[in-house]
C-alpha cells in the first residue's frame, strides 16, 4: 500500500542506465580494433613475430576492401599480422564494393580498393584518388551470364541485361557489344546492384546479367544451364584492380603507404607458392563465406600480378597491357556513354613510384 516510486527516481534510473550504455560504447570506440576481431586460427599463425620495427606515429590508415578475390587477398596480410611486422597501422574495413566507394567519396576512408575504371568514375563524381598498388587484372571472374539458350553476345540483341550502371560490369558489357559489332542501343540495361544479380537472372524478363565473382558464380548456379557468354578473360587488362589512396594521405604518409605496398608483395609471394594454396583458400573463402572448393576457381579468374608483371603494367603505354592504356580506354568509354561529362586526366590517377621503390628494395 505504501509502496511508491517517485517519478523523479524513475527518470534518474533510466538516465543512469542509458549513460552506462553510452559509456560502454564510447570506450569501445576509442580502442582501435582491426576489422576482423577474431584472432587468426593457430595453424594460420606464423612463428611468433620478431619485435616489429617502430610503428609510424599517427592514426590508423583506414582502407575499404570488398569481396573481389584480388582484394580479399589483403586478408592474408591481416590474418598473418604482416602490417604490424612492417610497422604500419592499417585497419581494413570489410564493405560492399559500392558502399566502400561511397564511404571513400564521403571522405571517411584513406584508401579504397577499386578498379581503374571505377576510380575514374569516383574521381569525376565524388573524390579523386591515386592508385599505388596494382593487385590484379580480371581474368574471367567478371562475366556476362546469359540464360539457357542464349549462346552469344549477338543473341542478346533487343533483350534486357541487368547490371550495376556506371561500374565495371557496365564497361565489360559495352566492350562485349563493341567487339561483337553491336551498340549500346541494341540492349536494354536494367540497373541492378551487383549482389542482387543472381536473383534477378531468375526473373523472366531478364536475358542476362553481368557481375563478378562470387555473384556471377551464384547466378550460374541459380539458373541451371546458364552460361558465361563473355568474360574478362576474353579481354584481359580491361579491368585492373588497384588500391587507390587519397592525395592528402599519400602526401602526408607516403612512407606508410610504401609499407602497405611491401605487405602486398609479401602476400603475392605467399600466394604464388603452390604449397600455400590450401591455406590461402581457407583464409579467403572464410572471409567471403563460401567453401574453399567453391573459392578455388575465383582465384583462377583473377590474375594476381607478380612484382615483375606489375612493373610491366606500370609502363605508360597505350593498350590494355598497361594500366595507363587501360584507363585511357575506360575514360573514353565513360565519356562516350555519359557516365561522367569531362574526360579525366587518367595519368594523375596513378603513382607507380611506390611499387618501384619496393621493387628496388627487394632486389
Amino acid at each position: 500500500m505504501s509502496m511508491k516510486i517517485k517519478p523523479d527516481s524513475v527518470l534518474i534510473t533510466i538516465t543512469i542506465a542509458a549513460f552506462t550504455l553510452l559509456g560502454s560504447s564510447c570506450s569501445k570506440k576509442e580502442t582501435p580494433t582491426t576489422s576482423t576481431p577474431e584472432p587468426a586460427t593457430p595453424e594460420l599463425e606464423p612463428t611468433p613475430t620478431p619485435t616489429p620495427p617502430p610503428t609510424s606515429k599517427g592514426e590508423m590508415l583506414t582502407i575499404g576492401y570488398s569481396d573481389w578475390p584480388g582484394w580479399v587477398a589483403w586478408e592474408i596480410g591481416i590474418k598473418k599480422g604482416w602490417f604490424a611486422e612492417e610497422g604500419v597501422q592499417a585497419k581494413f574495413e570489410w564493405m560492399d564494393y559500392v558502399a566502400s566507394m561511397e564511404a571513400y567519396g564521403a571522405g571517411k576512408l584513406d584508401a579504397v580498393c577499386m578498379t581503374n575504371g571505377d576510380a575514374l568514375v569516383t574521381g569525376a563524381t565524388a573524390k579523386p584518388s591515386i592508385g599505388i598498388v596494382i593487385n590484379d587484372y580480371s581474368n574471367g571472374n567478371d562475366m556476362l551470364v546469359a540464360k539457357p539458350g542464349i549462346e552469344s553476345v549477338t543473341a542478346l540483341k533487343g533483350k534486357k541485361v541487368a547490371l550495376e550502371e556506371g561500374f565495371v560490369p557496365h564497361l565489360l558489357v559495352l566492350k562485349a557489344l563493341e567487339v561483337n559489332g553491336l551498340s549500346d542501343g541494341d540492349i536494354t540495361i536494367v540497373n541492378t546492384p551487383t549482389d542482387e544479380t543472381p536473383q534477378v537472372l531468375k526473373s523472366d524478363e531478364i536475358a542476362a546479367i553481368c557481375a563478378w565473382q562470387p555473384s556471377s558464380g551464384m547466378a550460374l548456379k541459380q539458373v541451371p544451364g546458364s552460361k558465361p557468354i563473355y568474360t574478362s578473360a576474353d579481354i584481359p587488362g580491361l579491368i585492373y584492380d588497384c588500391l587507390f589512396v587519397t592525395e592528402e594521405s599519400l602526401n602526408a604518409r607516403r612512407e606508410d603507404w610504401v609499407k602497405v605496398t611491401k605487405v602486398w608483395y609479401r602476400i603475392v609471394d605467399y600466394m604464388k607458392n603452390e604449397d600455400n594454396t590450401d591455406d590461402v583458400l581457407a583464409i579467403l573463402s572464410a572471409r567471403v563465406g563460401v567453401t574453399p572448393d567453391e573459392y578455388e576457381p575465383f582465384l583462377d579468374g583473377t590474375h594476381i600480378l607478380s612484382l615483375d608483371e606489375a612493373l610491366v603494367a606500370w609502363r605508360n603505354a597505350p593498350g590494355l597491357a598497361s594500366v595507363y592504356g587501360s584507363s585511357e580506354i575506360s575514360d573514353a568509354f565513360n565519356v562516350k556513354f555519359e557516365v561522367y561529362q569531362d574526360a579525366q586526366d587518367y595519368k594523375a590517377y596513378f603513382d607507380r613510384t611506390l611499387t618501384k621503390e619496393v621493387a628496388k628494395a627487394m632486389k
Binding site: 500500500m1 505504501s2 511508491k4 517519478p7
Partner: protein, 301 residues
C-alpha cells in the same frame, strides 16, 4: 414542483435569530468585493457576453451559493474568482486588494476529480503547502490534520484511484483547505455524486465550514442544495449572465435534512424556482408533438 395551493410564508420573512445572524454577518469584514465584472468570449458566431456587470460582496465566514439556469455563466464567474480566467471588465478585491491570476488565498474544489493520481491522499493534501514553500515535515503534519478533519486518516497512504467519488471530493476539500485560503470556491463539487453520497457530503461540508475560518462560494444548479447550505443565494440570469437577485436565506441554523419540508425552506426554494423558471416562460418549444403509439382502446390514463 411546489403545489400552488400550499400556503407559504414570504421568503423575505426572517425569524429573529436569522435576522440577527444576518446583522452579525454584515458587520463582519468584507472578504470579497466583486465590482461590475463582465466577460466576453470570441466565438465563431461573434462575441458572446457570458457575464455582464456582475457585482456583489461576501463577508467573512459567509456561505454564498450561486445558482442559475445552465449557461448563465456560473462556472465562468467562479473561474474568474479563482483567477483561472480574467474578466473583460471590472475589478475583483480580496481583503480589499485587487487580484489577478490564481493564488493560494482562493482554494478551489472542482466538479471533476482533480486529485493528482500519482500522489497519495497525504501527498495530494501536502501539494499546496509545498508549493507555498512549507518544509516537508511541517507540510506533512499540517496535511494529516486536514485529512483527519475530513475523516480519511485511515486512507492517508492510499492512491486516489482506490477511493470512492465522495472520498475523493473530501480529499479535494482537505487539499484546498490545507493552504488556509480566505475563500473556498466550489464549482458544483457534488454534481457527479449519487444522491445519498451527495446528502452526506453536504452534511460534511456544513460541519467543516463550522470548524474552519473559511468563506465559501458554492456553485450549484440544485435548488435544495443551495437552500440547504447557504446563507445567501446569488441568482444569475442568463444571456447575458447578470445578477438577478441576492436572496437572504430565511432557514435558521443549525441546518438539518429535516428542514427540507419547513415553510421557510419551501418559501426560499419557491422563490428561487420562480427566478430561474419565471411563470409563463414555458413556451411551445418545450412541448413534444403528441403522436399516439398505442392501440385505440388501450387506455391507462
Amino acid at each position: 414542483m411546489i403545489s400552488p395551493e400550499l400556503k407559504l410564508p414570504s421568503y423575505t420573512e426572517q425569524s429573529p435569530e436569522v435576522a440577527a445572524r444576518f446583522a452579525r454577518l454584515n458587520q463582519r469584514d468584507l472578504i470579497l468585493d466583486v465590482k461590475r465584472i463582465s466577460k466576453r468570449f470570441a466565438s465563431p458566431q461573434g462575441a458572446v457576453t457570458a457575464l455582464q456587470d456582475v457585482s456583489f460582496t461576501v463577508h467573512r465566514r459567509e456561505f454564498l451559493c450561486v445558482i442559475g439556469a445552465s449557461g448563465c455563466g456560473k462556472s465562468t464567474l467562479v473561474r474568474i474568482l479563482a483567477g483561472l480566467e480574467t474578466a473583460s471588465e471590472g475589478e475583483l478585491l480580496v481583503d480589499g486588494k485587487a487580484v489577478n491570476g490564481p493564488g493560494p488565498d482562493r482554494g478551489m474544489v472542482f466538479q471533476g476529480y482533480t486529485l493528482f493520481p500519482w500522489l497519495t491522499v497525504k501527498e495530494n493534501v501536502m501539494f499546496g503547502l509545498k508549493m507555498t514553500g512549507h518544509r516537508q515535515a511541517v507540510a506533512e503534519s499540517e496535511a494529516l490534520q486536514w485529512i483527519e478533519l475530513v475523516g480519511l486518516i485511515e486512507s492517508a497512504h492510499v492512491y486516489p484511484h482506490q477511493l470512492s467519488g465522495g472520498m475523493k471530493q473530501r480529499v479535494a476539500i482537505a487539499r484546498a483547505l490545507a493552504n488556509q485560503p480566505r475563500i473556498l470556491l466550489m464549482d458544483e463539487p457534488f454534481g457527479a455524486l449519487d444522491a445519498q453520497t451527495r446528502a452526506q457530503m453536504q452534511s460534511y461540508l456544513l460541519q467543516i465550514w463550522k470548524q474552519v475560518d473559511i468563506t465559501v462560494i458554492f456553485i450549484t444548479h440544485d435548488l435544495d442544495e443551495a437552500v440547504y447550505l447557504s446563507d445567501r443565494v446569488l441568482v444569475l440570469d442568463r444571456n447575458p449572465g447578470r445578477v438577478n437577485e441576492l436572496l437572504e436565506n430565511p432557514v435558521p441554523h443549525p441546518r438539518s435534512p429535516r428542514q427540507f419540508l419547513s415553510p421557510e425552506f419551501l418559501a426560499a426554494k419557491a422563490r428561487l424556482e420562480e427566478l430561474i423558471h419565471p411563470p409563463g416562460d414555458s413556451t411551445e418549444e418545450d412541448r413534444l408533438p403528441m403522436l399516439r403509439m398505442t392501440p385505440v382502446g388501450d387506455e391507462v390514463y
